[in-house]
């Protein structure tokens, strides 16, 4: 195996879906205005949970059947919410990139389908408890216990035959590849919050080694269901709230009084492309991916973070980008509002930037969208790309003050942005850092 010469890789299409709407623009507009998408969960009664707030997209705001080609409408029946949102985000990215695929028209595709890959980060997709419960309850004995023997012989027949296919994490990428006829390398990264960044790292690696010209890449996850919410509850990372207070203050990244995060649904798919391919077709890149570093934490539990991993991942990304800390104009950290994770992020960032960290503005997305886990990184990267394009830093929510980092509540500002660092440590210990650069710098 040989490694082809590296070439520049750009983001040439952005598709984001979040609690604040379908597309990057509604999210961006809300962020400029300081409007949060967090509210008390409506999809089910959350009263049994200590954390009752989420970044939830109203179901009537997005219907996947409306955006897939007629030939794929039947397949929407075997999509879980995560897959629906991924297919939606991919459609947005393709549209934004200005390319033609089998999913957009009958015209010849802009790029040879064999040269288009797909890497989509996904989560542990939680079963719909209503769907599974409806089948399981048929095997409930009169005394209330569950009859496994009945389940094996009869009960399981109440589960739709393709039930399992809804919940395989790779189905996000598989549906997207089918809709858009992407026949190149395809993968599904499952590393919690780091999934999106690692997927983009893989897309870039695949393009740079010459196995594809472009990839649909990113991550999506839906955590707004009882089982997924419970699983996050098990990590002790969620803030306790019934949704009655000021929702702009629920998640307070890097604040001394931060007390946890909230879940969300959504994510983003980006069109990642070699600069050569983008130029050849006359595309308009949002930004260049200048460097990526990824590292694993060495911690006592998988729920901890490791400042060394953050520092080392950023160091590697900077090395690839051939830049120094002084060249970073903006940082998009995870900023989850989980105090122990925020403090480790701060430690890792301080190791790189020193006292100058206080003078570098940040964007924190989770107070707006909730933590979309596998989709979170793609939202961060989409917002970072938008910030570069608009030369604007949107508003921040959360606490009135933070120590050691410029992450307190503030309004949007216009400024010069040439390079942005996006860094994401994840549950499970993976950490990914990306440096995005303004085209032409």
């Amino acid at each position: 195996m040989s490694q082809s010469d590296n070439n520049k890789v750009v983001i040439s299409g952005v598709g984001v879906i979040s609690a604040l709407g379908v597309g990057i623009d509604p999210l961006w507009e809300a962020m400029l205005e300081g409007q949060t998408g967090l509210k008390r969960i409506e999809r089910f009664d959350p009263s049994g949970f200590a954390s009752q707030v989420a970044g939830e997209l109203a179901e009537d705001e997005f219907k996947v059947r409306k955006i897939v080609p007629k030939s794929h409408r039947k397949a929407t029946k075997v999509m879980c919410r995560d897959t629906e949102l991924a297919v939606g985000a991919a459609a947005l990215a393709v549209e934004n990139a200005g390319i033609t695929t089998a999913g957009t028209s009958d015209d010849p595709p802009t790029i040879d389908p064999n040269r288009v890959g797909c890497h989509i980060g996904a989560g542990l997709i939680s079963a719909d408890v209503n769907e599974l419960g409806a089948a399981l309850v048929t095997s409930k004995k009169e005394d209330g216990s569950f009859d496994l023997e009945h389940w094996g012989s009869e009960g399981m027949q109440n589960l739709t035959p393709l039930w399992l296919l809804k919940y395989l994490p790779n189905m996000l990428a598989c549906h997207v590849t089918i809709v858009h006829d992407c026949r190149g390398p395809s993968n599904t990264i499952t590393c919690c919050e780091a999934s999106s960044g690692l997927s983009i790292a893989e897309s870039r690696r695949v393009i740079q080694r010459g196995d594809a010209d472009a990839c649909l890449s990113g991550g999506v996850e839906d955590r707004v269901n009882p089982l997924a919410l419970y699983r996050q509850h098990c990590t002790n990372r969620l803030t306790e709230t019934d949704g009655s207070g000021d929702m702009t203050q629920v998640v307070r990244p890097f604040a001394e009084d931060a007390n946890g995060t909230v879940i969300g649904e959504g994510g983003g798919i980006l069109f990642i492309e070699s600069e050569i391919s983008c130029n050849k077709r006359g595309g308009s890149p949002w930004c260049t991916i200048e460097g990526i570093g990824c590292r694993q934490s060495f911690t006592d539990t998988p729920l901890d973070a490791d400042p060394h991993a953050i520092e080392s991942a950023i160091g590697k990304a900077m090395s690839e980008a051939q830049c120094t800390p002084n060249d970073i104009d903006l940082i998009v950290p995870l900023g989850s509002g989980i105090r122990k994770i925020d403090s480790v992020e701060l430690e890792g960032l301080t190791a790189i930037f020193g006292e100058a960290l206080q003078n570098i503005p940040t964007i924190t997305t989770i107070p707006f969208t909730g933590n979309c886990m596998a989709g979170n990184g793609a939202i961060c990267i989409g917002v970072a790309a938008k910030a570069i394009n608009e030369q604007t830093i949107p508003a921040r929510l959360g606490s009135e003050s933070t120590i050691g980092i410029d992450a307190a509540k503030c309004c949007a500002i216009k400024t010069s942005i040439k390079r942005v660092l996006v860094v994401t440590p994840s549950e499970g210990g993976q950490c990914v850092a990306l440096i995005l650069g303004r085209v032409g710098t």
């Binding site: 397949a75 542990l124 790779n170 026949r183 395809s186 694993q296």
Partner: protein
């Protein structure tokens, strides 16, 4: 030019928990398929599987207390990784740069506690509404579920356990492309090394779906064999009467490193990874492309990267063994055969092929890593393991599937296929190491 070699291997499988035992049993054509003991499957359409036995994960770690009750997939990963790490000699290598030692796994999710989940869902069921009462559900979940067990469900948890055990701080990824995951993990780990992003990568897969909901899911898909006879005869890839795959479980792990790094520390390369190909069918969620488009592309890409012209007819084909995905489903075995013909042209009939799933079942995400280790064992021993239960060949499948009996052969280069539900396809090419 950077080269990537394998310096350590290990596996935990239904056929045994060390390299030699499993290899000897495969060479004898033994089956590990038996009645499921993990739960009472007596009323299920499928009552048998390949189950890991006599395995105590605590014997494979320095300090079990470091690992916080790992789920079974993580246990298997720790077991396989220890064998690989020891064989590589890295355990006693003091100079390892931990920031340049990474992990790439194709690991599945943890084991779902079906007993607890079925109780919670049924007890919180509201008959009038026809759905779960979410408030009651939360109450029962809080009372019944093991919190740590739910955290261990995340597919990236084996990654953390391995990092914790060996202080691996370099690039770390987990992918889950169904049955293709660990082949993809090894291929992409190779790519990470070729890029110069690491010196060492621990790569492989681990998975178990041998629980009531896993068997339920595959039974409903009608993908599992429901063979009504001796379980050891149930997995019969390439047979006319093949009736679906048999569930297995386990892990395969390999230590990959750059040749430069391996030589510098005096390690012995066991084989060289020379080709990796990945593709998507982009066809249907439930069906393979009828012409084998995706699998053929994965094989072609891997062979091309390896610099191998597989199609030109020759008396001595450049690939001497194909470890087939060979699931024993009607569709896979037919399409894979067609795809091999597309990739190998007139040479296809001359390349021996077998499916070890006939002996140990389908290890799902872990299948590819165990099958790649099989390829390397073939190179090391010049033995090809058989496809057992191939007594009734399918006349439509006309290649050399090494029926029932192992075979001696000069083996210098092997190809290993893995194809995932939904159409993600991956192929690796591995060669005898030649300095």
């Amino acid at each position: 030019m950077t080269r990537v070699v394998v310096t350590g291997m290990g596996w935990i499988t239904p056929l045994g928990n060390d390299l030699d035992t499993v290899w000897k049993r495969m060479c004898k054509g033994e089956s590990a398929i038996a009645t499921i003991e993990r739960f009472d499957a007596s009323s299920f359409p499928t009552k048998f599987a390949g189950q890991v036995r006599n395995f105590d994960w605590t014997q494979y770690v320095h300090n079990a207390a470091d690992h916080h009750e790992p789920a079974m997939n993580s246990q298997f990963a720790l077991g396989a990784a220890k064998q690989a790490w020891e064989q590589s000699g890295l355990g006693s290598y003091q100079e390892l740069n931990h920031d340049r030692a990474g992990i790439y796994l194709g690991a599945g999710e943890g084991v779902l506690d079906f007993s607890a989940h079925s109780m919670i869902d049924t007890h919180s069921w509201n008959v009038e509404d026809g759905k779960v009462d979410a408030v009651a559900w939360a109450k029962f979940a809080t009372a019944q579920l093991d919190e740590w067990g739910e955290v261990e469900q995340e597919p990236n948890m084996p990654l953390w356990h391995l990092a914790r055990e060996y202080e691996l701080r370099g690039p770390a990824f987990n992918c889950l492309t169904a049955c293709a995951a660990s082949t993809q993990a090894i291929g992409e780990a190779t790519s990470v090394l070729l890029r110069g992003d690491a010196d060492v990568m621990l790569a492989g897969g681990t998975h178990t779906m041998l629980h009531a909901l896993g068997i339920t899911g595959f039974n409903r898909l009608t993908a599992l064999s429901t063979f009504d006879g001796d379980p050891q005869k149930a997995s019969k890839p390439f047979s006319r009467d093949r009736g679906g795959f048999v569930m297995g479980e386990g892990s395969g792990m390999l230590v990959l490193e750059t040749l430069e790094h391996a030589i510098a520390r005096g390690a012995t390369p066991l084989a060289e990874i020379v080709g990796f190909g990945s593709s998507a069918d982009a066809y249907r969620i439930t069906d393979l492309h009828p012409e084998g488009r995706g699998p053929a592309a994965a094989m072609n890409n891997a062979l091309s990267q390896a610099g191998i012209d597989a199609k030109t007819a020759t008396e001595n084909p450049p690939v001497q063994y194909i470890s087939a995905h060979g699931t024993s489903t009607q569709e896979n075995d037919l399409i894979e055969t067609m795809a091999i013909k597309l990739a190998f042209g007139d040479n296809a009939p001359n390349v021996p092929i077998s499916s070890i799933k006939s002996m140990m079942g389908h290890l799902i995400a872990a299948a590819g890593s165990v099958e790649l280790i099989t390829c390397i064992m073939s190179i090391q021993t010049n033995m090809l393991v058989p496809t057992i239960n191939l007594d009734n060949p399918d006349p439509a499948l006309d290649l050399d599937y090494i029926p029932n009996t192992a075979r001696e052969a000069q083996v210098d280069c092997c190809l290993s296929n893995s194809f995932g539900f939904g159409g993600q396809n991956n192929t690796l090419v591995v060669k005898r190491f030649n300095p």
